[in-house]
Subunit: 214 residues, 3 copies
């Protein structure tokens, strides 16, 4: 395994995503191995969905580091849980960096597959968000994705910036850096200033035709 | 984009499925973009599952109209929500037409892939129903599919009619029309006359061996 | 269809998995066809996920016996429900045998695809467990997998034994027998003696930064 900047960021993101799964599993009568699986699914669920849609080999089959990193996340939780879970802001930063990186990885892989820009942006968003959705579904909650500060929309915005940079022929490395930073900054700013999209309210009158709603 | 009868029906079905997702999301503390995603997943979830199982490129990657139609559905909801949600019967008709069309599309695509008739019928049913199941799972409800008037069974019946028409060498267009109409009519008749399958009751005695039930 | 020992075991496992789905569906206002679908998904969900990840044709498309066996399971439930559900121990045995067999099938198929041993073990575990997870998610429960006696871990242990046997060049048939027996025995012993992994407890202090937990 070559150690470079991308690897460090990739593993930080995996670690943060795994911790977010393990953390949400704690206190729900889930055993250690169950927590490991939920952490793993949170970390690799998005990329796996992307790879299935792209019809390529799921990325984690070719490199054991994602399974190992999740193991380290579980071990860290067991040893330093109270301290670790108190690192809210640090974890949030990891999580945001992971989101930015995962989004860009999803876009790059989709571009290589020759897909149009809007499919690439969808794939980037899928890569960044599906793991957290599966985590919430497994733990029997309505996914946070749908109820919270800007999250999926940050991925979309990062994707749009990515293709604007490409349009103006910026170098690939710079494009990736700017796009990932966009995701991360939107996420941080939205959380800090409690910016969120309007909630979709329910209908004001009940017309009694609920039986039609499938 | 060529405008013809199939396209109109296809987009009506997509619109109705998207509205059903957005409608169920309303009043659940879900923001606009979350509602868009749930509408999209409801509309494209079935066809995507089918395409993954058939190992072909997911249909929505090759045509942006499904993403756009879902966007129109969200916009329509935001602008005319009370009116739109009151259109129960019209929406139900769209939804049923969509179900019929999606089922037939699923069968046709599976036939092209050289699959036996019963796999084709399963694929038609998957195409018609999985989107609604994913919608319900994401919104943390037991899928309506399992609890309501004839729904998946209408797809199966339409599939059986499809292969009976083929057996008697009816022209392809007529076969599709008759099969889709079967799905739609069964759905409408079942709703109008409250026809449903018997409920599977629980066991009458608790034998205390629940720990075995996985 | 050739009747041999593997077929008998395969169908017993399918039957037991289908019954476990139908059984959990009973008493939840689910109709007969809904119960059939839940039974089917429980029985074929794991193998289907494995085949999607391996990019091969889902196994049930090539042989109707899985759909038929689930139909028999539904019929048996409707006719003999009280008796059948009281067969706790027998069903549990079927279920454990099915788990062992499904795990080994998953490992073998992954080995044929040329995957490294740890991916094969993951695939065996996926084959054995995903059906039950999907069943629980559809019925809106936190998957039993995460909350109960040793289950997924038995698959992992069976996988490790499988590769130890291969390392010592045991014949393929013996390797499979020993590995499957390992899964089955661990499952039975864990249930009988209530052996389970420690639960992951929640954090002892609420630090108020829950908003970061995605």
């Amino acid at each position: 395994m070559e150690i470079n900047f991308t690897t460090v960021i990739d593993l930080s993101g995996t670690f943060a995503f795994a911790i977010s799964g393990i953390r949400l599993a704690s206190g729900k009568q889930i055993d250690w191995f169950g927590a490991y699986i939920i952490g793993l699914v949170t970390a690799i669920g998005g990329g796996t969905t992307r790879d299935l849609l792209l019809d390529v080999t799921p990325f984690w089959m070719e490199d054991g580091k994602y399974f190992l990193t999740t193991g380290v996340a579980l071990l860290a939780t067991l040893l330093f849980k109270d301290k670790l879970f108190r690192l809210g802001n640090t974890l949030f930063l990891f999580d945001s960096i992971g989101l930015g990186l995962f989004t860009i990885v999803g876009i790059s892989k989709s571009l290589e597959a020759g897909l149009p820009f809007w499919v690439c942006i969808a794939m980037g968003t899928i890569t960044g968000t599906v793991g957290g959705v599966v985590r919430d579904v497994l733990l029997n909650e309505v996914p946070l994705l749908f109820r919270k500060d800007i999250y999926a929309l940050a991925c979309v915005a990062g994707g749009v910036v990515y293709f604007m940079c490409r349009h103006f022929s910026l170098p690939a490395g710079l494009t990736e850096l700017v796009a990932a930073s966009t995701v991360i900054l939107i996420r941080i700013i939205a959380l800090k200033f409690h910016i969120h999209l309007p909630i979709l309210s329910s209908i004001t009158t009940d017309t009694g035709d609920n039986e039609n709603k499938s």
